[in-house]
Symmetry: D3
Subunit: 285 residues, 6 copies
């Protein structure tokens, strides 16, 4: 088992337990323990491959053999076999639903991310599309991984990944500069400092205070373009990464990308996921 599988093994076991309870009373009554079966997993629509490592672990834990036939992060057509499983028919049936739930969600996230990336790159070929912490509770590692498979940037996994000074913090402090100064003093030098701003003034102050990343929150593309121009004039543009967030959709993402920011972040990549329609076709042997 590789490092990643070893890291998620307990979660997958917990999910299996959640679905099985004291066992699959139907399959156990109907299927002999000796009955062997094979199965193949595929999407019923085109999409980005994701969730295969996770779902193969489901079958491993149930004593089956699985082999992954497509690279996670690559595109796939509908009906192409992405994974094959062999083992006890009962075990395959027990793992089926969980495997499909994992792939369905992750493939849904990866595929949507990929579409957003593709659309955004029309506005700016170097733009990064980032997710947020708006993930399903307990599933952050899977949601973020699927974003990466879709070509996105995971952004913060946790509150300790990077400083992000928001409005709520600023209400308690005399100024952005003091906030930046305070975090620089108290937080490890290994961490970046990001500041969320809603105005040009905020951005200027943050840049002067030495913020590593400045996020324009809920700002129109036009306004962002204006602000970046002024920051450039003021010599405050270089060495800083600019991010836009709030109100970005697949429709306007290309326009936002064209503003010149480095990163666009969208909560919807993970908080409102449309599952890919995935199928496990089982054949008794």
């Amino acid at each position: 088992m590789n490092e990643y599988k070893s890291m998620i093994e307990d979660k997958i076991k917990e999910y299996l337990q959640e679905d099985l309870g004291y066992g699959d009373i139907t399959s156990e009554s109907l299927i002999s323990p000796e009955q062997e079966a094979g199965a193949r997993l595929y999407y019923k629509e085109p999409g980005i491959v994701s969730g295969l490592t996770e779902s193969s672990l489901v079958f491993d834990l149930l004593g089956c053999e699985s082999s992954i036939l497509a690279k996670e992060g690559s595109k796939t057509d509908a009906y192409r076999t992405l994974m094959e499983i062999n083992g006890s028919a009962k075990a395959i049936l027990m793992g089926e639903r969980l495997a499909l739930n994992l792939v369905g969600r992750m493939a849904g996230i990866a595929t949507r991310t990929s579409k957003v990336v593709e659309k955004a790159r029309k506005g700016n070929p170097k733009i990064r599309i980032a997710a947020t912490r708006k993930t399903a509770p307990g599933l952050r590692i899977f949601d973020k991984r699927a974003v990466i498979h879709g070509g996105g940037d995971p952004h913060r996994f946790r509150l300790d990944d990077c400083v992000l000074i928001k409005d709520n913090h600023l209400e308690l402090l005399p100024s952005i500069s003091i906030a930046v100064e305070k975090t620089r003093e108290k937080v490890s030098f290994t961490k970046k400092i990001e500041v969320e701003v809603r105005s040009l003034e905020g951005a200027i102050e943050a840049a002067r205070a030495g913020a590593d990343i400045i996020m324009f929150d809920n700002m129109s593309p036009v306004k962002i373009i204006e602000n970046l121009a002024i920051l450039k004039e003021e010599g405050l543009h270089d060495g800083v990464l600019f991010e836009a967030s709030g109100g970005i959709t697949i429709e306007n993402v290309s326009e936002y990308a064209a503003t010149g920011v480095d990163i666009l972040s969208l909560g919807s990549l993970t908080h409102s996921v449309e599952s890919i329609d995935v199928k496990l076709e089982i054949e008794m042997i």
Copy 2:
């Protein structure tokens, strides 16, 4: 702490840990431990109340006081305060994202379920709208609870809740009657037996074998109406519950409801969730 909170406490702790890592480096640097704050949680759109118990537990575990102001399962307007929180500003900020992620998803599920129920009841005021096992891994208890808040039926939580004989099982057995017989013999008498059928013949055989529930899988409303009529003529209708599943959407749900089945089940209630836009408004004190 009541029984439900006690049951989910470990999950909520795990989710907090997932989001916090070694702590909220921003808030800890900027906000004094003595700083107190209040907060109110509301939807930015109308919907069904759900997820308040779970998110109040987030704040309890962080040492805050929370009070729930709306009954889960009831309708709410946008901007109505659903929960109030008081406590350390730092703690409220640490719990914010998780609380919103929980409410956002659960409210999304409950609200969609409620819309489907409402629509379906136009076709048949007694219809039950049921979810499936297509939930996000680890979140079954929350997804199912949200379905209930939306007026739906949770259907099976686990594979041991009720027998459900599917195509994959039937491929391995000579007939539906033998499958039903076998499960009745081997499974506890406390469990119902459901059979998934794709034809009238299957339904007749299942009913004769004494199935408690018969599910029409991927069958058109017209076909279902025909089949139910024949089953009635054959004296095989009473004492059996009929469920339809596969291809049911909010658009056609009323038509399906009007066929005379007792239950309609939809995977999309939980596998493709659109989050409700929820907000936590924090006010420093």
Copy 3:
């Protein structure tokens, strides 16, 4: 590892830890890590085979090889080898006590259940003998599994397996019919509804309300026979399962079985277990 072993692995590890503490100080001092041994497990009295899967997992987890030589649920004579183990002598000695404790209890339950079933079938060859939730805390899965090996029905594993309306519930409600109605409305359609009654009137009301199972609580065989006759006359017998519980012993079980009920349940199957005398004979190699 198959699905069942995978499901119970953490429990078995916990039990090993409970018995080992920081290690077997005697064996570790006396036996070289290279010392190999073989062992065979047998009953010192005839009985029903049970607990072999669980105890083989004990040895697997300690790095030994084990092979099961008898089918769980079958009868065995005294001294017949049921399992063979090979591996490090130290490991076999470390696992010995836990393996015997598991088999001893499960075999005790299975054997007693089997005797009760055999006795009861003299009164009614189709009777089901069911256990209750009176199991040893933490051991429900093993206790119920042993009941099944003995030819019994596990009845409810958990409070969410099936509705069971008891006296304590009825004290709070105007009538049995209202109680049944309420649970049918609130509980998933996938669940059966059982009602515990102490009188003919209760049984009639429960049957009319559509209870799936009616349990005669602490009622004499004579009274049960009378009541079933009247229920039949009233057309309330068919489509309902009847269970008797309370005061049933191996002495009177055949008489109870002959009353015409479908199920007899006995708490004593699991709350007062007499261990089978099991032996692990170790031979150093």
Copy 4:
């Protein structure tokens, strides 16, 4: 919460989860969350009080108030109230079965142990009655505690509590003296060394080697008396504790006690437990 409750809290939570599953579907449908109730717990037969701490924790964890009215380890008559509980009716019903299962088993063990102790003290007022490691898996702490409540000695909790050199070990070593020597050298000086012997010669050798405890395994009372006499003559009696084990029952325990050994150990105290009949009487308020 005191230290003991804190130590067993996770176990009790696990047991609750085992019994509840996703909740008590009956009580949740029928009983309003506001409904309060009181309950009293008593034995329906006389016995030794045990298991109250554990079962009070069940109710604490469900949010009820419980008060223990009898000292664990003391004798109680039938029907005397041993514990009172107040709280949500639903919660009391949810905890009922687990609380009774805990008390039933522990009271059963304590009561039997107490009877054996009483009987044995007729033969020797200073005799110690000890349990073995033949406990129900996972329940060692409770089984041993119940033995203590019954006036018994818990003997080893774990394999690292004390050296116990058995036949299986001796097969691998040239002599008892070498075995004792080896363990004395390798095991911490804080541990006692016990040797199981089947003959006078073994006992003499063990005593000479400096064993702290010598156990006569499966030896008749007559033989034990003889052997002790010879050991005394040889000056090998003082400073050593003598234990007898194997084949000791409540019938012959007094005779064994009269032999002059210090300790008698019986596996049956914990491997074959007869539950005390315990009742929780609930009264809705």
Copy 5:
């Protein structure tokens, strides 16, 4: 309980369990459960206050009341009371050793860090003294926290906190620039990139490639001064943080600090800890 205590609660419980086993057999035999006691905790030598939150939680979990009388991170004299505890005498005795072990180690780390910081600040008043990942397994959160209390910087808690390209990585890549480029492309923009270099050339290449932090590994102070001068000349100094590591001791730390680097990191802060001599003085009441 605040967020931090809530985060470490399970660890402290595990440590208690590790020390208690099945209980404190001495105190339980000798001290009545009703016996109350008070205790005060102090250092027997001057030092930096650390570990009080952790050790107060030990006593909280055992049902005692504790109050912290000194701010963590502040200096204390010998014998000054830092914490007071009140509660059951037995519980205080049970928690004593763990509490002292926690404070002893954390105070040891904090005090040593503080001395190193003080010494280093003589060479450069703005220098940061950082720890490494050379912590005791399982204790990273406590070891790092103690470093912070001593005025140090925790550096990376985990391998995902910040990129750190080392020799082992560079062996596999054609050049530092390509390594930096690759990580910038693949790792989230929220992360800094640090490169360990052993030569001026390496430093120049890393700076040109845009490394955020450059670490001089095992380089003499003289060499570092030279290299920084050249980097400044080349315009590669600003916007980069410089760290020195390897061979830094309390003896030479001031000299290293004077070289002009921003950070000095020392593994010895946490891998070779000298405990502070801490005492819990208990007074029975």
Copy 6:
């Protein structure tokens, strides 16, 4: 996996998780999953071999192959290869730090213990050097094991291993004899009773009361010699083990050993550990 590895597997997994977070972002970006590597582990100074089993498990869990080339507890020179690892380069890099942290600490403890033992044996070739419960929280099993590898005695692992009556206990009791008597009555006969004394009178009373071990606390070598002589005269020396503790250092250990006590215990063996400098040399293949 042998019993010991199986026992510590969860701890090692937890430590890996602690160090990895969501993964090694550096290695994952730079090293292809197919890249294989070999590695060898050695000390950079002479010492006692310890921690190899633990660190080999780190690599096993990451999917590598490891082979141990030196016996734990033996002496090793600097630079001798003690373990070889083969596998994915990424995995080896991920496990490196934890493996070194484990070996560094354990080797440090074992080596220091060995030096103390060697020194002490000059004073008394039969002396036992024992550790205390002053270990790093969570690491007791490893710290004690390292003491054993260094030739030491682990003393108590837990508070339930042996009775140890201390000053704090005696303050609550009328006399040492009563304390010993009480513990003998309440604690299992399988446990030894140790008494800590600060005077000859205490030692005499403890010996008369039948203590198994008497510990001279903070007593000078001269005083101990005097006391042992008097105890011998009084016939209170034989059958009792004598331990000295408090103020024993590597400098005076030989003098203490020569006093005639059986055991010397030193907290510093585990509370103030100096890591051995261990290196993992990786070679890409």
